[in-house]
Symmetry: C2
Subunit: 323 residues, 2 copies
Amino acid sequence: MTQLIPIETIEEVLSQLDVVALMEEGFAAYSDGRAVVPPVGELIFEDPPGETHIKYGYIRGGDHYVIKIASGFYGNPELGLPSGSGMMLLFSQKTGFPEAVLLDEGHLTDVRTAAAGAVAAKHLAPSDVQRIGILGGGVQARLQLELLLPLISCRKVLVWMRDPGGVDSYLEYFADSGLEIESAASPGEVADGCTLIVTTTPSKTPLLSAERIRKGTHITAIGSDTVDKIELEPEILANADLVVVDSLSQSETRGEVFRAVEAGALRRDSVVELGAVISGRVPGRTDNQQITVCDLTGVAVQDLMIAQGVSDQVAQASRQQPE
Amino acid sequence: MTQLIPIETIEEVLSQLDVVALMEEGFAAYSDGRAVVPPVGELIFEDPPGETHIKYGYIRGGDHYVIKIASGFYGNPELGLPSGSGMMLLFSQKTGFPEAVLLDEGHLTDVRTAAAGAVAAKHLAPSDVQRIGILGGGVQARLQLELLLPLISCRKVLVWMRDPGGVDSYLEYFADSGLEIESAASPGEVADGCTLIVTTTPSKTPLLSAERIRKGTHITAIGSDTVDKIELEPEILANADLVVVDSLSQSETRGEVFRAVEAGALRRDSVVELGAVISGRVPGRTDNQQITVCDLTGVAVQDLMIAQGVSDQVAQASRQQPE
C-alpha cells in the first residue's frame, strides 16, 4: 500500500531526524561509487516561465529508489503563491512498487539543501569561525543558518540581502536564538568580516570578489545550480586551497565550478567530491589559514536519504501508537 | 490541493472515457510539433533485475504536464506479485503545482498502449479485415483485442501464445463477447490467416517472417520498446508499403523501426508519424492490397492525455455529487 505523507506530518517528523548525518551518509555512498544517479531530467516552460527538475536514483543494496520533482514558476508570487513546489516519491528497490508519496511542497528539498551546507561547514570550515556571513534573503538564507547552529559555536552573524526590506523579518525570526545578527551594506562587507560564508542567491553575476576574501575563509556556494547562475568570481576558486563539489559529474554542466572551469580559472582535476572528504579518502581543510570553497548543486542521493528518513520515521511512529 | 486517485476510481471512470479519441488528439498534437517530450529517463536495477522508465512532457498551451513512472521487475511473479507497477502525476502548467497523483499500478499505461493500437488499426487496417491475429498471452493481448472491437466489424480471431497454457483463460475471458476465437500453433499460422495482426510479446528474436505476410495486411507492433526486443523480421518493414511510428525520435533508439534501420532493411526517411496520418498531413493506407506496419514504443503525450482524461472525469463526477 502506498503511504501518503502530507506536509504537516513531514514537518513534524523532520525535527526528530538527524538530517546532517543522513546527508553525510548519502554523500559518502555517492562518492564511493555505490549510488546510481542518472542525469537530471528537465522540463522548461515559456508561458508562463517555469522549470521542473526531476532527480532520481538509488544506492545499490539499499531498500528504495527515489524520484524527486521540484519546480520553480517565477510568476507565482504575483498570484500570491510560492514559486517552488514539488514532491518526493519512494519506491521499493526489490519490487519497483511505490511505497511513499511525500507531498512536501518543495520543503524537503529546502531542508536537504540546507543540511548539505551544514555538512560542508562541518568538514571544511576553520575551527575558529569569528563570524558567519550569509548572502541572500530567501528560505535558504534562514535554513542554512539554522542548521549551522548546532555545529558551530560562533554566534555572530552578518547578513546581506539585495532587498534590505527583508532584514527585519530575518532578525525577528532569529530574535530568541541568542545570535548577534547585523546587516551588511554589501557582499564585500560580509567578506571582510566573516570566515564562514554561505551564499544563497539566484544571482547571475558574481557577488563576491577574490580580493576581498580573507585567509582562512570557507565559502559554501548554494545559489548557483544552473548554467547561468554565479555568485563567486572565478578567481576565488582559482585562489582557493581546496575546491569541493557535491557531484563532479553535475559540476561539468552547472554551478560555480562549471563557470570557473569555463573561464579558465580552475582545473577540473583539482576539484574533489564532498563524499570523499567525509569518508576520509581525500583530505579536507588542513589548517585554519586555508581558503576552501564548497559548490553544491544538489544530488538525488540527498533526496533519497531525506525521503527515506521521513518515511521510516512515520512508519516507526505509527507502529508505536497504541491500538 | 493535490487530488489522490486510487486504482478503484481510475477503473471506474475509465469506462466513461473515449480513450481512442484522447490518443488521436495526443498523437496529432505531438506530430504537429505542439508537444514538449524530453528523452525517456531510465533507472536500471541488477539485484533483483528491473527497470523503471520515467516519461514526461506537455502540450504547449494546455493545462497540465505529466510525469509517468512505470517499472518492470521481472522476479516479482516469483513473489506472487505483478512485474509491472507505477503511477502518473499531473501538474499545473500555469504554476507547477501538483494537481493529481494517479495510483494506477501501471494500468493506465496498459490502457493507453492498447488504445494506441486501436488508433493504429482505425487509420491503417484494411477495410475488409477477415480475421484478427494476436501474438502474445499477456495483458496487452487481451486489452488490444478489447479496444479493437468497437472499431472493427470482424469477429473472427486467431491467437498464438508461446505458452499455450494461457489460451484457455483467454478464451474464457472473451466467452460472452460474440467472438469466434481459435488458437494457432505458430506465429506463421497467424500470418497466413489474418490481415490485421497485433504483436504483444517481449520477444528478442523475430516471430513473423516476411514471406508469410499476405498482401493487404496491417501489423501493429506493440512488444518491442527497447534496443533488444524485436517481433518482426526487418524484411517485413522493407516490404511494407507504409511504415508508421508513434514517435520518429524514439524510433531512432528503440523498437522495430530502429532494428530494421540498423539491419539496413529500411530507410529512416521513409517512415512517417501516426499523428501526421491522423491529422491528414500524410496519407495512410490508400488501398486494401497494401502492407502497412505501425511500430509503437509509447510516448508521454499518451500518458498526459489519459491522466488528464481520468482526472477531469473524477473532478466532474465530484461536482455532480449532491452535497
